[in-house]
Structures are given as structure tokens and as C-alpha cells.
């Protein structure tokens, strides 16, 4: 027999209690314009924090800068020259609102879905393309579909956490469900089905909890915390990722299934797992959520007995329900999206909301999360609020009165200006295609494959069982060399194939107008007098070979800090 774990878990509140005091912010009356209300709420909270810190915000960004950043953040690429022109010419005072509505509306739904499919693919399954248990096209298909219809975020999480079915959409494969790819590669370690990675990633992504760390060493090793990890892990024990093979040993697809589980002790009524303390003592764990809520210990899936009495439980479904009702669930996504748009989350890292890591703006953070929940977990709505807010509208230029506000120096962010950040590899790729007005008619799936192949050059794997990885797409020399000489940039700057540069060269107008076109396409601004002068010097040096001179200008523009940074 094993010691029964305590049924009273209120004391184990370390992960749960919001020590930073989230104020409950009223949602206002039904008549309230939720948009305006939420944006005003952000602006007011942010401004009062500025006042408190005695900081003054930077002036607003120019129209061109704002147009560029909102395209990069919502559809994952720079604006086309046409989109930029339309926005700059719009004289309406509500033009920002109108552009956001367009980018989040039907017209751009495919680009929006493609961009956030990139973002979520990296979050859910990483950048490693070599895990045979994950079918990236399957993951992407599912994401594109649910993002295109703006599936409410609670449903999105439930589908991922409870998914069953086949990972791969191929002829002869039944029961395709792309959502299974989130967990299919995280169920086993070295041939043991223990769901350790599934536990860690689910907690990290949907609850902002780093259980992997708190399990053993954020603080000196601690029995309670190890309990918590394995009790959360117990929710995944009815689940298996089954390899379906064809012919030889190649995995054709993976099927994620739930089935009755007898537990490691062999008693399905009380299906338990064992884990080992450091001193070698075996302990037992049943499914208990992080807030101490216990569910049935049964290992049986839901069914009814002959007399009609229901029994059993689907542990992952219970987990999804518990996650949905956790106050950390909306906070985790609000923090992630806030960081996506503003370059810094309320906490760093964004997926560590433990009480050892207090947020920069607790009231704003809590209030936004509450509103997001009340609004029905509508992701696009949350994005609207953030991109229409004042901090998102600010210039990235520092002033004398806010220079100290720089999270890259380890300061808590005050959002007095728009923080510079590198384009992601995905944004850079799409932006190069956009800036060079490349043909984008390829099938979405083929396009994604080509892009994946390009992206894979930056992935560095760490050789651990957890599939840890890092990227060389981090502003270091290899990335600069890729921009200098890589295929993609070579193609973008090539002449003679009837591409973008050829069209610019053969267009009507002056050389200055051509240089202008290059700047607008990549940087969403016109060249300065100094830049026109430098570019003209290039043309002169080429003794009239305007095409090659423009090629050199274009190469320089695409290689500039201004192009590869979101500002």
C-alpha cells in the first residue's frame, strides 16, 4: 500500500495565488463599446505608470512606421507599396481603426492565418523539423483552419489538449486531426510513455507555469513541487502516441489515442503513477490540478455499467476544463500577445507567471485578462485592443525623458516607446517576398514547405531528450552573412529574370523616383536627401549602368538594420 496524498491542497498555493493582487476590473455596462473601453483602459493604466515612474512617452510614430509595424505584427510582413500608399493618403481620423479592421477582416484572413500559424507552430512544436512523431503540415493545416475562423481561445486550447486521431492528412489515413501534433511528439521519452514533455509544455503554454523548473530546482528541491508536477502529469496517462508504420520502419503517421489505464499499481479504480524522490523513495500520484482540485482517480474512460451507472473519466478532458477555469489561462495568452505586439511582456520570460516573477503592470495585466475572458476569449478582439492602444502608437525613438526605459537593459518595461526587435525568421522571409513583389500564387502547403526548408538552416539542436533548441537567427554573423549572400537575398536582388528590380529599372520616371520606390517597398519611407545623394553617387560610379547601381542600393536597403528590425 502507498501513502494516500493529502486531500487538502489549499496550502500548495505557490503556483496559483496571484500575490501581485489582480484587481477585478468591471467590464462596464452592456452598452459600453468594448473596444473603446478596453483601449481607454490600457491607455489610462499605462499613462498612470508613466507618471509614477516620472517618464514621458516618445512622440507618436509616423504613419509609415505605424503602417509597417501593424502589417508585420498582424499579417507577418511589411506592407506592399500599394497598401502603404493607400494608408498614407487616407485623411480620415479613424484610419488606424479602419486599417486594423481590414487586416483582421475577411480580406486578409489568409495572411493573418498564415502569420499566426507560423507563430503558433513555433510555440506548439518548436522549429525542429526532424521529429518523426510530429507532422508539421498537419499541425499547420489545423492551425490555419482554426485561426482563419478565429476560434475562441478556450476552444483552441481544449482541442489541442484533448486531441485524438491521426497526425497526418494523407490518403488512406483515417481520423486526421492536425491538433494531435501538439502532443504527439511529447508523450514519450526514450521509449517510455510518460507524458513528461506534454505536462511541461501544456503548463508552460496555457498556464504560464514553468513546472519543469519548479519541479526540481528553481528553489532547492522541494517535495511539494515534485508532487505537483507528477499530479499534473497523471492527467496524460490515459494517452498514448501510437506509431503507425508502413512497409519498413518509417513512421507513416502517429495516432494519439486515449484508453483505459490500469495505473502502475494495476488497479484501474485508483489508477496511480509512481515517481521517485531523490532519496530513492517511491511516491504515488493521482491527477490533481495545480490549484489543488482533485478529479476521479479512475483510470477508466467514461462508460456505463450494465445497470446504467456511469463510471470512468477522461483525464485530458477534465484537465482542459480545469485549465479553462484557471485565472492563469487568460493571463498566459494576454501576456504572450502583449509581448508579440509591444516587444516585451508584463513578465520576462512571457511564459513564466509564477509568483517569483511579478509583472510590470499588475492591474493592467489582470484587467486585460478579465476583459478577454468576458469577451469570450476572442483573440482578434484582444489584438485590436492592443494595436489601437497608445503604447503601440509610439515612436521607437528614445528621448531624453525616457531613455532609461529599455527592457534590454534589464529594466522593467514602461512602454514609453516602441521597443526595437528583430523580425522573426518567418517575418523576414515573408517580408522579402513582399518587398520584391514576388509571385505568391503557390499552394499554401508548397509555400510552407519551401519556407520550412529555408528556416531549418537556423535551427541549432542541443542534443537532449527534451528537444531543446536555439536559433542562429539572432542577429549574429551567420544571419548577416545570410542577408549578404544567401539565396533568398540573391534572388531578391537579381536582375534579368523579369523580377522586381527589372520592373523598377524599366519603370517610367527619374532615378530618384526609382530609388524612392525601393525605399517605400522595404522601409515604408522615402529616402532622405543624404541617402538620395549616396545613391546617386552609386549611379554615377556605375557610369550610367543604372540597373546595377539600383541593385547595389537595393542590396544595401535589404541589409540595413532598419529593414531587419521592427520599429
Amino acid at each position: 500500500m502507498h501513502a494516500s496524498p493529502s486531500r487538502h491542497r489549499a496550502w500548495r498555493s505557490g503556483l496559483f495565488v496571484a500575490a501581485w493582487g489582480f484587481a477585478a476590473i468591471g467590464s462596464g455596462g452592456a452598452a459600453e463599446d468594448r473596444d473603446t473601453g478596453a483601449v481607454a483602459f490600457i491607455n489610462e493604466r499605462i499613462a498612470s505608470a508613466w507618471a509614477e515612474a516620472e517618464l514621458e512617452p516618445s512622440p507618436r510614430a509616423t504613419d509609415g512606421e505605424w503602417c509597417r509595424r501593424v502589417h508585420l505584427d498582424l499579417v507577418g510582413r511589411v506592407p506592399t507599396r500599394e497598401e502603404l500608399r493607400a494608408y498614407l493618403e487616407d485623411r480620415s481620423p479613424a484610419k488606424r481603426d479602419a486599417l486594423v479592421s481590414r487586416l483582421l477582416g475577411a480580406e486578409y484572413v489568409e495572411e493573418y492565418a498564415r502569420h499566426f500559424t507560423d507563430v503558433w507552430t513555433t510555440i506548439l512544436v518548436g522549429r525542429d523539423t526532424t521529429n518523426e512523431l510530429v507532422n508539421r503540415p498537419g499541425m499547420r493545416q489545423w492551425l490555419r483552419r482554426v485561426l482563419a475562423r478565429n476560434m475562441p481561445y478556450d476552444r483552441f486550447m481544449e482541442e489541442l489538449v484533448t486531441a485524438t486521431g491521426a497526425t497526418t492528412n494523407r490518403e488512406g489515413v483515417e481520423g486526421f486531426n492536425g491538433a494531435t501534433n501538439f502532443l504527439s511528439g511529447k508523450m514519450e521519452e526514450m521509449g517510455v510513455d510518460n507524458g513528461v514533455q506534454a505536462t511541461a509544455k501544456t503548463a508552460q503554454i496555457f498556464l504560464g507555469l514553468q513546472v519543469q523548473c519548479t519541479q526540481c530546482h528553481n528553489h532547492p528541491f522541494n517535495k511539494g513541487k515534485q508532487n505537483q508536477f507528477w499530479e499534473l502529469n497523471a492527467f496524460f496517462r490515459q494517452t498514448q502516441a501510437l506509431r503507425r508504420r508502413e512497409g519498413g520502419d518509417d513512421v507513416r503517421y502517429v495516432e494519439l489515442v486515449d484508453s483505459d489505464w490500469a495505473g502502475e499499481g494495476g488497479n484501474p479504480q485508483e489508477a496511480e503513477l509512481f515517481y521517485e524522490l531523490r532519496n530513492g523513495v517511491l511516491k504515488v500520484a493521482y491527477p490533481v490540478f495545480i490549484d489543488g482540485t482533485e478529479i476521479s482517480r479512475s483510470g477508466y474512460l467514461p462508460a456505463t455499467m450494465a445497470d446504467g451507472t456511469p463510471y470512468g473519466v477522461n483525464r485530458r478532458r477534465e484537465l482542459a476544463t480545469l485549465i479553462r477555469s484557471s485565472p492563469l489561462f487568460p493571463r498566459a495568452i494576454v501576456n504572450r500577445l502583449w509581448a508579440h505586439f509591444l516587444g516585451s511582456g508584463f513578465t520576462k520570460p512571457v511564459d513564466d507567471l509564477g509568483d517569483h516573477n511579478p509583472p510590470s503592470h499588475p492591474e493592467l495585466f489582470g484587467g486585460l485578462a478579465d476583459r478577454f475572458q468576458e469577451q469570450g476569449f476572442d483573440l482578434k478582439e484582444l489584438m485590436r485592443w492592443i494595436v489601437l492602444s497608445e503604447p503601440y502608437a509610439l515612436s521607437s525613438r528614445g528621448t531624453r525623458r525616457n531613455r532609461s526605459d529599455d527592457p534590454s537593459r534589464g529594466e522593467k518595461p514602461a512602454f514609453t516607446r516602441f521597443y526595437l526587435r528583430q523580425l522573426t525568421a518567418e517575418q523576414l522571409y515573408e517580408s522579402l517576398l513582399t518587398a520584391t513583389e514576388a509571385d505568391k500564387t503557390a499552394r499554401a502547403e508548397d509555400a510552407a514547405k519551401t519556407k520550412d526548408a529555408w528556416l531549418s538552416q537556423f535551427v541549432v539542436a542541443f542534443g537532449t531528450d527534451e528537444g531543446d533548441e536555439s536559433t542562429t537567427f539572432n542577429g549574429s554573423i551567420p544571419q548577416v552573412l545570410m542577408m549578404f549572400n544567401g539565396d533568398l537575398v540573391t534572388r531578391a536582388t537579381s536582375l534579368g529574370g523579369g523580377g522586381f528590380l527589372d520592373r523598377i529599372v524599366s519603370s517610367d520616371g527619374t532615378d530618384a523616383a526609382r530609388i524612392n520606390a525601393l525605399y517605400l517597398a522595404a522601409l515604408a519611407r522615402r529616402p532622405t536627401a543624404q541617402e538620395i545623394k549616396s545613391a546617386s553617387a552609386l549611379v554615377a560610379a556605375r557610369r550610367g549602368n543604372v540597373a546595377e547601381a539600383l541593385q547595389d542600393v537595393w542590396w544595401a536597403v535589404l541589409n540595413s538594420n532598419e529593414f531587419i528590425l521592427n520599429h
Binding site: 526514450m190 517510455v192 523548473c213 519541479q215 526540481c216 530546482h217 528541491f221 521517485e276 530513492g280 520576462k348 513564466d352 521607437s396 525613438r397 528614445g398 528621448t399 529599455d406 534590454s408 537593459r409 534589464g410 529594466e411 522593467k412 521597443y419 526595437l420 528583430q422 541549432v460 539542436a461 542541443f462 542534443g463 537532449t464 531528450d465 531543446d468 536555439s470 542562429t472 542577429g475 549574429s476 554573423i477 551567420p478 544571419q479 548577416v480 552573412l481 545570410m482 549578404f484 549572400n485 544567401g486 540573391t490 537579381s494 536582375l495 534579368g496 543624404q530 541617402e531 549616396s534 545613391a535 547595389d552 542600393v553 544595401a556 536597403v557 540595413s560 538594420n561 532598419e562 528590425l565
Partner: protein, 425 residues
Amino acid sequence: MSLLPPFPAGMSRRHFLSHVAGAAALASPAVDFTNTLLANAPVMRKRRKAAIMLWMGGGPSTIDIWDLKPGAATGGPFKPIPTSADGVQICEHLPLLAKQMHHLAIVRSMSTREADHTRGRYYMHTGYVPNPSVDYPSYGAVIAHELADQAPDLEIPPFVSVGGGSVGPGFLGMTWAPFAVDSNGNVRNLEMGVDKARLERRLAMLNTIESRFIAEQRGGAADDHRRVVEKAVKLVTSPQMDAFQVAKEPREVQERYGTSSFARGCLMARRLVEAGVPFVEVDLGGWDNHAGIFDTLSQRKLPDLDRAMAALVADLAERGMLDDTVIVWMGEFGRTPNINGGGGRDHWARSWSAVVGGGGFRRGLVVGETSADGKEVTSEPFSSQDLMASVLKAMGISLETTFTAKNGRPMKIANSGKVIGELFA
């Protein structure tokens, strides 16, 4: 109209580079002095200090490698063998290294707390546990930064990571970031494809755009980019890139190291150190052996490690480089003395071993000890920062060095770790 051909017909890359070298002058006038400095290279080389870190990604089972417990329940099947160092025993599957142990020292009393890969990798590389508000520099960045003056002619990056990603430069900035290459020494996208005059014009135009953007005070990332561009320009025009070409070594040298990618990495590390690179990390992953550990170790990991590391140590010693080149062998942690149900060992940070050698280190000894079952350190325990402080001392880097983090806070080098006294005479 077409692009110029990459090289005029009959022109070798090296020849081309000698033409383009002038372009680097845009980035740094130092390049003009290259030839003079190269002429003095043998003299310089003697004084240059360097470190080679052999990083065992995944957490190697040091109880099976450097600190065996024959007969204990936790001991596993491997037997210890005597080595060239008096009284020092290591695993039977390291016969070649056993002949080099008089050059090395085993620290058997490492005791840390980070038993998660990501955190352990960071902690062992920086001497600091991960902190949300300060990003600390790793060994490579600290050493490259401190030794920047000793090789002013160095055009290749001073911190090279072979076959892995290492850990970044933290608050020291992207200038000191690891330059990652694969073990074949291939650096992608090195060919500029245009002639010198044209490259110069392109870079001048680029400089106009970058300078304007930097002047607008938008944040450090703008200036960082320019500095990395300058380094990249130096790199593509540098004949020193030859150091990455392991294939240029005589066949018998290559054979001595072995054929694995780790072997090529070790050989490349020696070439890079000869060229003046002060820090090279060579990664050997695959130590995360939660199941079937003994077969994996005896059949794959240890033979790979044995041949390449033994060749590296011997080669450095024979070339007279060992006194100026520190070797550090470690992973993010060790593995559980208890053998699990799958015949594997899990993560274990409380008691494990690291190995050092070369530079100012005493050699041919063991420091510290663990209990009979390997579960406890029974002598004075040492931390990541202690090991780091010792490595820096062995390289002649002052432990009084203080950095200023971006938030203005002073940071003592190696997190104020204390030197492991027994490692020094």
C-alpha cells in the same frame, strides 16, 4: 544584363580575397597591419592564452566515466583502469585518455542544483542561474572579451562554437556572440559574388542607411547590427578562414583524432587556437541516457570521446600549446547514481565530475571525492562559478575584473566564484 561572375576566370578564392581585403578597411583600419602581425605570429602565439571547452550536452554520467564506484549498488558494470597519472583511475572504456591523464585533473566534487537541461546549460556556461532581468555572458563571451587585445590581427570571431549553439554573450552584447559552425567547418554564405569596388560601394550605401537609423536613438539593436556587419565583412575577406578547414590537416593527424564529427571539431579547435581564437567550444551531445545507458556509453559515446579527446590533449602537448591552452570538459550536470527501471540514469546535479587541464592548472591529479555510492560529495563541494573562476585563473585572467551590466549594476567576473585551490601548485 547580368550579375558579374563571382570570380574572374582563373582567379582563386584566396587570390580574390587579397583583392577584396581592402574593403575591410571600411570596417577597420587594423586590417592593413595583418601582414606585419602574421610575420610575428610565432612570438605572439606563445603568449596567447586560449580555452577549449568540450561540452557534453545532455548531462554525461560521470559516475561511469571519471568517478567509478565498482561494487556499489549504484556502480554499474564498468571497471576502473589505472592511468598515466599516479593513483588516478578512470573508466575502462577510455584506454587512450588513460594515457593522457598526467596532463589533466578530475574534479570529482562538483555539486550544483540545476538539473534541468536548459537551466543547467545556462548555469554551467555562465556561473549564474537564469534571471529574468539580467542576461549573463557565457565562458566564451567573457574570455573573448577579456583577451580581445592579445590577438589584434584576429579576423575570425573570438568565440567559436563547433557543432552546437553554446550560450550567448548576455549583457556583453552581440559582438561577443558565439560563432556557430558545423564540424565540417562550413560557413554558409561566405561568397560575396561581387568585385571589391562594388562591395565597397554597397557597404558605403549600407553605412549611410544604418548610421541614420542609429542616430535616431531607437535602441541598442540598431548599433549592434552595424557592429556585426563590420565583423561579417572582415570575415568574408579573411584568409584566416582557413583555420576552419580540418581537411587541410595531414591525413595521419586526422586519423589520430578519428572520424566522428566530435573528432573533427576537436581538431578544428586546435587549428582555431593556433590561429589566435581565444575560446572554442566543441559539442558532443547524446549524453541524456535515461534508458539503456551502459550500451550507449560503452559502444558509442565513450569510444568517440576517448579517441578525439586523447588526440587533442596529446596534440596540444606535443606542439607546446598546452601550457597556454586550458581544456574544460563538462556537461550541464551528472546522472543519478541510482539506475532506473529502464537501465538508464536520470538527471543529477548534486555530485558529479568535471575535467580540466592545460594552462596554469596542476596536472595528473584528482580533486575532491564522493561517497561510496556516489550520491554525496564528501569533500568541499564546488559550484559552476568556482570552476569558472579556476579556469579564468588558469588563463591568467584577473578575478578582480568587474563588468557593468546594462542596468548599471556591477557584476564580478565568474559570479565571485572561489578558485579551487588544489588545482594550482
